[in-house]
Symmetry: C2
Subunit: 138 residues, 2 copies
């Protein structure tokens, strides 16, 4: 029941359920991988560019999706798996870019590091890794 799940996610984050929002969220759930604006646009066509910006920034603020900013300037969005509180994201996964196929994915790793430094308080840790993915390694 994808439809119900979609509506539930939107509602449970305190947002009203609209056609556009459902459409956008549907693709995040369906594809379950980080998407850039161009890709999202082509999928949800013909939602207005500005509306899409607003939906994404609203989803992000509410903790439904999170932004991924890669060192090369790419800006992607991915669905939050953990329960991200309103405006406060916390992910125990890394963002991985394959240097061979350029695919970007959110990966769970067992040994997610617990960093620390004297006299500093670390709240949020965001890790971007590049390398070679499963599919390309052979």
């Amino acid at each position: 029941m994808l439809r119900l799940e979609i509506e539930n996610i939107i509602k449970s984050h305190g947002l009203s359920v609209t056609k556009s929002r459902k459409k956008v969220l549907k693709y995040f759930l369906k594809l379950n991988k980080p998407l850039d604006l161009k890709t999202i646009r082509s999928l949800v066509n013909p939602i207005d560019r500005v509306t899409l910006f607003r939906i994404l920034s609203c989803f992000e603020k509410k903790g439904i999706i999170h932004s991924i900013r890669l060192e090369n300037g790419q800006h992607l969005y991915a669905i939050c798996k953990e329960t991200c509180r309103d405006g406060q994201h916390s992910h125990q996964h890394i963002h991985f870019t394959c240097e061979s196929c350029d695919d970007v994915s959110c990966l769970s790793i067992d040994n997610f590091p617990n960093l620390s430094l004297t006299n500093y308080k670390f709240n949020n840790i965001n890790i971007n890794v590049s390398g070679v993915c499963q599919a390309c390694i052979f």
Copy 2:
């Protein structure tokens, strides 16, 4: 001998030494912290905006500086401490944003993680942390 160090860095990365490049690099060495475009522009005034873009992207490609892209969209540049090969950056430090004073810095940490995942090859690990810095923690 800052002047000599500057020229040496530029030369040793295979670039010709120009007034503008020296000026830009000078501030990176002097301030020794991540700088955004606006700050750099105001420091190196009156270097043309486009020229500055080209200098920065050239420095980055050659491994003199690296880009820091924060989750909030901020784009900063910082000098590379380690020897970054041409086009291939590798840093054993984290990028830290203080949630209280908004300062961004490159921090060395002892326990820099050695991540791995079966069937993946991890080449480059980039870590952005937000929290409270030394100065604001008290």
